[in-house]
């Protein structure tokens, strides 16, 4: 790697601390390279400046969803975010994901996020037993297309961190869990649509969404949880008027 011609050092501010210690920020000078992701920057600090820095990643190619952090106040997948895209002068500010508890430093506690997947009935309700033949799925069917539009979610929690409704309402299931419910609702192989609609109609359900759309704006995979939630609102309303859910 070559040191970039323009300014060779970046000024990186990182949030430190855990649930038990008050959070503080620390600033590091990190060498700038031509090709560098935000995750590279965090790794450089941990490997060269402070080995106690805690953060999380696995795949480094945008598949596992474990590396999301707040970068200059915006939730991003750090392994796929090029430094040149976010550099503010020669500064970057990195913090753990918003709307989640902090385990330590840059590692957010994902438990509430995944608990809500379960609470939104984000699990498969089979139509057949393992003894029966596998039901064919028509990829062209309208419902299948609605489901397919949402299944590439990598559970990174960026939408959950971007959502101001989650901030104001900790019970709210959030965009990822609701989008998951919507994909199952549209799945021809799911046998319990009523259970899904019940799960998204409670106090923290889809009806709390204010349609602000940060989920769709920030999703790194360009999914559209906002429309999925609107779909759930329509489906629950149809059921309210006695039409098929």
């Amino acid at each position: 790697m070559h040191v970039a011609e323009h300014g060779s050092v970046m000024n990186v501010t990182v949030q430190r601390g855990s649930a038990d210690t008050p959070t503080r920020t620390e600033t590091f000078d990190v060498p700038a390279y031509d090709n560098q992701t935000v995750l590279d920057v965090v790794s450089w600090i941990q490997q060269n400046a402070d080995p106690t820095l805690t953060y999380r990643f696995a795949c480094r190619v945008g598949m596992c969803g474990s590396c999301a952090m707040m970068v200059n106040g915006v939730p991003r997948w750090t392994c796929r975010t090029h430094v040149s895209k976010v550099l503010d002068g020669n500064k970057i500010n990195i913090a753990p994901l918003r709307n989640l508890p902090v385990i330590k430093d840059l590692a957010a506690d994902m438990d509430p996020f995944f608990d809500k997947w379960v609470a939104a009935e984000g699990k498969h309700h089979p139509t057949r037993t393992r003894e029966e033949e596998i039901a064919p799925v028509d990829p062209q069917a309208e419902e299948r297309q609605a489901a397919s539009a949402g299944i590439e979610c990598i559970n990174c929690s960026i939408c959950y961190s971007a959502c101001d409704t989650v901030t104001g309402n900790p019970d709210y299931l959030g965009p990822a869990a609701l989008q998951r419910a919507w994909t199952l609702y549209n799945d021809a192989k799911d046998a319990d649509r009523d259970a899904i609609l019940d799960a998204v109609s409670g106090k923290g359900g889809c009806h709390n969404c204010h349609s602000m759309g940060s989920c769709t704006a920030y999703c790194p995979n360009e999914l559209d949880p906002l429309s999925a939630i609107a779909g759930l609102k329509r489906a629950t309303t149809r059921r309210f008027f006695g039409r098929r859910g």
């Binding site: 409704t165 104001g168 309402n169 019970d171 709210y172 109609s201 409670g202 106090k203 923290g204 359900g205 009806h207 709390n208 609102k233 629950t236 309303t237 309210f240």
Partner: protein
């Protein structure tokens, strides 16, 4: 916070309010052409079952709609919860209804 029941109550009250708002504003603009006095207004509204029902239903819809909307704001922005949230939301709805009903009665009775 906003479950299915409250959501439907707020959306349905909005549905009711939409035509009422249009008629309310439309009639006002139409009626003031060439000047209007309080006596003329009362002459049309007093004893009118139509205007009693029109503004009566309007007031009910407004009370429901505004109370639920403010309930969300009180919860998300002011952090009110539980009994306090319910009591204040119901209070807002009832005060709006009492004020509106009082006004409707005053001009249509």
């Amino acid at each position: 916070m906003l479950d299915m029941r409250l959501y439907m109550a707020q959306r349905l009250s909005a549905l009711v309010m939409a035509p009422f708002v249009i008629v309310h504003i439309g009639v006002m603009i139409y009626a003031i052409q060439g000047g209007l006095t309080a006596a003329e207004i009362l002459g049309r509204t007093q004893g009118s079952l139509f205007w009693f029902l029109f503004y009566g239903i309007f007031v009910v819809a407004v009370s429901i709609h505004a109370a639920i909307g403010l309930r969300v704001i009180l919860f998300e922005w002011a952090g009110l919860k539980g009994v306090a949230l319910s009591v204040i939301s119901w209070g807002i709805g009832l005060v709006l209804f009492a004020m509106g009903a009082n006004a409707v009665w005053a001009v249509t009775a």
